[in-house]
């Protein structure tokens, strides 16, 4: 047994078990959360060259699973996020009142997303990635539909278009190179029309899934309307798989084909996303759209890092900054959506102005929101700070002052919109509002601890900086080209 297969098999097993158990399938999360966290930890501690061929069928035909640094960190963060979100959802039902179907189907869908995300982070096969992408997208749309059917339908249609663009790119790649393996492609890819079109199509499709500006239109309504646990999973997991596939494409499979100009297009879109998303977040009156637009901005940083990684011969800093930013955002944003959900349940409205008095009424939850905000703003000491610091140093080192400026301004803008929400919590009750007694219970319990734990982890990441940087470098494409030599087929 190896965590490389169990990380995919266990959630699928839980999915089937949840379907068999029906309404009581929800309790499975008590088993799944620690088990998956253990498996993810096991994966993180594997020797650096951990990889194997499924079924021992050799490339180019077979499928290689590989535990590189990105996969290790993403899978660990996924386990922590889904585990915490699941425990939260156990205590705080995710469904609309009376929707027994949602209460029951929530769990198999979560496990499907879990399996898809883990399988996607581990595989180096572009077609296999298509299937995992669909696992995650399907679950994501269904979870979004639990909040608003209209927003989910829009998300679905756009995601479908993204899938098709990606699939068309994969089809051209298969035809051109007779392989869809990232590692093999890196050795043979040439800059001809078919290859460039394939890369362009795959990139366009994945940018839709990753919700990079200006393809972000579907995200705010879907994420804002979904139930809090679903929003947390959408922002933390669903968006990240698209990003990781893009990393595989741009820095590995087609690294020899991509030019600096194209990388700067991605970086420029990322920079625009940071500014645009932040400004939109500042303009929101309601809490969940604010948090959703913050995702649009935070996704921008991931792509702003692309030219920084490619712009130097020693990209370990920028690479780690990019990866750690992804991880920190997963933890912090999931924490923030869960906290926001609890806060909105406690007050009557959904506006930021309605949050007055919550700091006294539910201190744990507001603390979680605040800690997550610290990481999202990039204040020390937090994972967000480590990531942004690494990116900023890379930008300054390379003389990319435009990107450096966006990094700084983005942090400031995040501070503006997040402090607005936070200070609303500390504001006294609005005069004519309901009295404090009616402001919901002072929730302790798992539902309040889960976001606090996630936000705490986002902060603690800041203290584990060097260790995480080392993990992120495992089998990174720019590192020493230790070509993976899996055991040959019998």
């Amino acid at each position: 047994m190896s965590p490389l297969d169990l990380l995919m098999a266990a959630p699928l097993g839980f999915m089937a078990a949840a379907l068999m158990l029906g309404p009581s399938g929800r309790w499975l999360i008590l088993l799944a959360a620690p088990l998956m966290a253990g498996l993810a930890l096991w994966l993180a501690l594997l020797p650096p060259d951990a990889a194997y061929l499924v079924g021992q069928w050799d490339l180019p035909l077979g499928i290689l699973l590989r535990a590189d640094g990105v996969a290790r960190l993403m899978i660990l963060a996924t386990a922590l996020v889904i585990g915490a979100v699941g425990l939260h959802a156990l205590a705080e039902p995710p469904e609309k009142p009376g929707h027994a179907a949602q209460a029951e189907t929530f769990w198999p869908l979560v496990y499907l997303m879990w399996a898809g995300a883990n399988a996607g982070f581990l595989t180096t096969d572009l077609f296999n990635l298509y299937v995992t992408l669909e696992m995650v997208s399907l679950a994501a749309v269904a979870l979004a539909a639990m909040g608003s059917l209209a927003a989910a339908l829009r998300y679905f249609m756009i995601a479908l278009l993204g899938s098709l663009a990606y699939l068309l790119g994969v089809a051209l790649t298969v035809a051109r190179y007779d392989t869809v393996d990232v590692i093999l492609l890196a050795q043979v890819a040439e800059a001809d029309l078919a290859t460039l079109l394939a890369l362009g199509l795959m990139t366009a499709g994945l940018l839709i899934k990753a919700a990079l500006f200006p393809m972000h239109g579907w995200l705010p309504p879907a994420h804002a309307a979904a139930p809090a646990p679903a929003s947390a999973l959408l922002s933390a997991i669903a968006v990240k798989l698209g990003f990781v596939i893009l990393v595989r494409l741009w820095f590995e499979a087609f690294a020899a084909v991509t030019g600096p100009a194209a990388l700067h297009v991605l970086g420029g879109l990322g920079a625009a996303a940071v500014i645009y998303g932040s400004i939109q977040a500042m303009r929101q009156d309601r809490l969940k759209p604010l948090v959703a637009y913050s995702t649009v901005a935070q996704v921008g940083y991931l792509f702003l890092a692309f030219p920084l990684v490619a712009g130097t011969v020693e990209p370990s800093g920028a690479w780690a900054g990019m990866t750690l930013h992804g991880v920190a955002h997963m933890l912090a944003k999931a924490a923030m959506f869960l906290a926001a959900g609890l806060m909105l349940k406690a007050v009557a409205g959904d506006r930021i102005a309605d949050l007055g008095g919550l700091a006294q009424a539910m201190p744990l939850t507001v603390t979680a929101f605040g800690l997550a905000a610290v990481s999202l703003m990039g204040l020390p000491p937090s994972g967000g700070f480590t990531a942004k610091f690494l990116l900023l140093s890379a930008a300054i080192e390379q003389g990319a002052f435009l990107y450096a400026g966006v990094l700084v301004i983005g942090g400031l803008l995040a501070a503006v919109y997040l402090f607005r929400a936070l200070s609303a919590c500390f504001a006294p009750l609005a005069g004519a509002g309901p009295d404090t007694a009616s402001r919901g219970p002072v929730t302790g319990g798992v539902q309040a601890v889960a976001p606090l734990a996630l936000a705490g982890l986002a902060i603690v990441m800041g203290f584990a900086g060097t260790a995480l940087v080392d993990v992120s470098a495992i089998e990174a494409p720019w590192a020493t080209p230790t070509v993976i030599q899996p055991e040959a087929a019998p």
Partner: protein, 320 residues
Amino acid sequence: MTFAFDLILCLMILGTAAIALFVRDALAAIAFFIAFGNLMGLAWLGLDAVNVALAEIAIGAGVTGVLLILARARLLALGDAATSTGSPLLLRLGALAACAGFVVLLAAAVLSIPPESGLDRVVAPLMPGLGIENRVTGVLLAFRAYDTLLESFVLLGALVAVWSLAPAGAWPGRPADPGMADAPMRRVAGTFGQLLLPVALVMAAYLVWAGSDLPGGAFQAGTVLAGGLLVAGMGGTIGLPSSDQPLLRAALVLGPVVFLAIGLAGVAAGGLLVYPAGLAKALIVTIEYTLFLSIGVTLALLVAGPPMPGASDPDPEGKG
């Protein structure tokens, strides 16, 4: 097949596609889509890909067609005729220019790649080790079994996603009856269903068995089973099952779970989805038989849609 045949077929494919996309009336569009799917099946025959031809006609034209017809009927009952309405001229012109340019680019890229069966050379020498002849089945159930394993869970997940749409108060429950409301029509369809369901079962079982060596396989067979179940359901031969029936749930997860279990058992022989020497064919056939059953039931329920309130029990016998 000659070039002339291929050319005429391709033109007919494009023609039916264009009508299916742009005709005003939704039912006409779906009818042409089904014709388009059947012609696509012919195209796959022209490409000597019989496995895909079967899948395309059964799933691409058949199941998708029924799915769309049923959705259109349910929309029509709500007063939504799903007619295509024109969009602004400027949008159409812009889209036309963009799509035409894109097609030219795509066609140029396609023409720059010489058609060849490159991986056939890799697949062919590996087949004797599996003990089956059908290379496509070999790829689906051995060399790329991991894709197929995940895909079987995608299908299951799609049904869960459809179920999640059940309105408040309808869970657990049955999908809205897709059957004929008119009693004489129901009788006619019922007679046909009684005849077709056993035939479909036999036919599907044969398709799985043949799929080892001849064109066929679990997906094609599952679709045939789904077709039989649907026709039987429309005629009232079998009642639609309630979403919480344990037997139904077991039928749904059986195939994917057996596949997963065999995959994990492979670890004993060296790794995920490794088939021990000599056992490959037996394991593949086991996977395919359980998978086809689950696929059949899943596809039928996918077409039927989410449980709805007031979908009463039309037939107490439950489902087959």
